[in-house]
């Protein structure tokens, strides 16, 4: 079933299977696009306003211009996917699993990725403000050229993860746990590391004293 070049309004479009296919230019509003299964496919310009996109399973897919506004995208599983120009506003992507993914040029505001896990995943040139990553797990991930304002990672766990050339303004790492991580050439103005715990983590060309709150930090010789 091809749904390319379509506009759906108040419809049940759940359960789509998209295998070795290309779909493009879909605008959905007030619709259910949950339980999609996608593999080795290309998705260009999928725009959702007030939609459900829950329980998505996608493997080896290329997403370009995926846009979520006032939408729920909970419990998605994304493996080996590439996301270009992902836009997420006023939306929930909670309890998701991302592995082997690369997200480039993501823009997100007032959205939640809480309780998600990220493995072997790279975020490049994102711009995010007021986004929640509370209680997320990051393993073997890379943040590169990221620009964040008031992005929140409280109680998150970072393992073998690097932040490179990132501007992390007012970012909240309260009670976060870092194991074998690196902050390289990052800006940390007004960042909060209250009660953060560091193990084998270094800060080349990064001044952690830019942070506004280092109270209770463990594992660093401040």
């Amino acid at each position: 079933m091809s749904i390319s070049n379509s506009s759906v309004n108040n419809q049940d479009c759940s359960g789509q299977q998209i295998l070795n296919d290309s779909i493009s230019h879909i605008q959905a509003r007030d619709s259910d696009l949950s339980a999609w299964r996608l593999s080795e496919s290309s998705i260009v310009s999928l725009r959702m306003d007030t939609c459900s996109f829950n329980n998505t399973w996608a493997d080896t897919c290329r997403w370009k211009l995926l846009r979520l506004d006032h939408s729920l995208a909970r419990q998605g599983t994304f493996s080996n996917c590439v996301f270009d120009e992902f836009l997420v506003v006023n939306s929930f992507l909670t309890a998701g699993r991302f592995s082997g993914c690369r997200l480039t040029g993501t823009v997100s505001e007032l959205s939640a990725f809480a309780l998600s896990s990220f493995e072997n995943t790279c975020l490049v040139r994102s711009r995010m403000s007021e986004v929640s990553f509370i209680a997320t797990i990051w393993k073997n991930c890379e943040f590169r050229d990221e620009d964040y304002f008031f992005v929140r990672f409280p109680s998150s766990l970072f393992i073998n993860t690097s932040f490179i050339d990132c501007n992390l303004r007012k970012v909240i790492f309260r009670w976060a746990f870092f194991i074998n991580c690196r902050f390289q050439a990052c800006q940390l103005p007004e960042a909060v590391f209250h009660n953060a715990h560091f193990v084998d983590t270094d800060f080349p060309k990064t001044d952690i004293h830019q942070a506004a709150n280092l109270e209770g930090v463990r594992g660093l010789d401040l």
Partner: protein, 192 residues
Amino acid sequence: MIGRNIIFRRFTVGSYPINGYLLADENSRLGVFIDPGGFSEDIASFIENRQIELRHIFFTHGHWDHTDGLPEFMNRYSLQCYAGKEEVRAASHILFGGERLNVGKLFFQSLLTPGHTPGGISYYCPPAQAVFTGDALFCGSVGGTTSHTNAQMQLDSVRQHIFSLPDDTLVFPAHGPMTTVAAEKYANPFFR
């Protein structure tokens, strides 16, 4: 987004911007605005385009950044206002927690969540599986308080009334990003 037959929109409102939320019953078109910290043409257009009959204003508390837009709302719509005790002078209905508030077929339960202010109210909407917490609970944080006693009261009331909701309940605070009950209950550092 948050339940069948529910119209929902978040707006950034006010000079000290907060999240204001509009919900309406899709069938009756009756609607409520939570925390009118300001008014904007975006709100007016949305109400007009979606043919919403705005009937109610819910205040989570009476701080000016949550109430400043009320005169403009009152000028444009015929409204009933709801707030906790001694929070908002314009409130026509005083809430103490536990009241059921109907908006068409939509309904809300008021939850007393004091601490940030003495009469703070959160609004739980079971059909939407969502709770609107004002400044009582933020993503990974809580609103400021003026004393240790008030801070403890806030934590206790959130534990009692918000964390007892189903884990997948969506939490919409007045400031910052949305979150869920599970994320806050298990990971908000202020509740450790």
